[in-house]
Symmetry: C2
Subunit: 137 residues, 2 copies
DNA sequence: CTACATGCAAATGCTTTGCAACCTA
DNA sequence: TAGGTTGCAAAGCATTTGCATGTAG
């Protein structure tokens, strides 16, 4: 797979992939950088950005562009949805089955050629939910 | 509504609102700036950003944070979904009814306190669809 | 008049890129 | 050893912010 695209498996690239596969959070590039830096202290942030981009193009990982602002990365390449905390931006997987038929509903109704969809839930994670209630009183 | 929050209706603020309500595209801050500049040549981009933010906090307009990157603004404050062209980033409304029950499905299954959801379709607009087909052949 | 709003420019935050040195296949 | 990859730093782009001046109420 790497060979087809004339790409190499460097130490940096494989460790980025390994570290990402260890976690269930959906880290941003900077968070991946902090994780990888513990094993490769001299790696640069630019290398992390480049590799996350390449790995998602190869289909090894998934790039998430949720509404929170920064891009996040997910080792799980299966179609699934997410929940984002509006306060701390923590992102979890949403425990709900993919809406496989929903794109069909648009087929007749739009001039666009649909190729996919993203569904994102927003709310408060347990920690932030507590804190927000305190402030209200 | 402005009074409650000790806010003023300036010439800049009202023209930004007027111009946004004229269009069915979902312009970015910079696009709003270009529209408004035709009527107020000396307005600054910072003022446009500040007012779009304030107007969306007041509920006069809706701020869209789709996966495309930059924020977009919509005069239609009703709940509705969007389709984005992955090639040119054009954003249209998606002709599909809101999924009013979908948040209930998560109620038991997640530790998050859900407050909303966003559904975004992605695909090719008619113009980009043509161009992409040409390149393929 | 008062204090919210503006124009301008500088600063910020995330991400990308140019380049010489480096290392994988 | 060829050319993809790295570290470093600078650049890019959208957005925010500090401040003196302007103006709505």
């Amino acid at each position: 797979m790497l060979k087809e695209k004339k790409m190499r498996m460097t130490r940096q690239r494989s460790i980025i992939l390994e570290e990402l596969r260890k976690v269930n959070t959906h880290p941003s590039a900077d968070e991946v950088y902090e994780m990888v830096r513990l094993r490769l202290p001299r790696i640069s942030l630019g290398t992390v950005y480049r590799n996350l981009e390449i790995l998602s193009e190869l289909g090894e990982i998934q790039k998430l562009q949720l509404s929170g602002g920064l891009k996040r990365f997910d080792w799980d390449t299966n179609k699934h949805y997410h929940i984002r905390c509006v306060r701390c931006n923590r992102v979890d997987d949403a425990p709900i089955a993919p809406l496989n038929q929903i794109e069909d509903e648009l087929y007749e109704a739009t001039v666009f050629e649909i190729i996919g969809h993203n569904l994102e839930f927003v709310g408060f994670c347990p920690e932030c939910s507590k804190k927000v209630r305190k402030v209200d009183h």
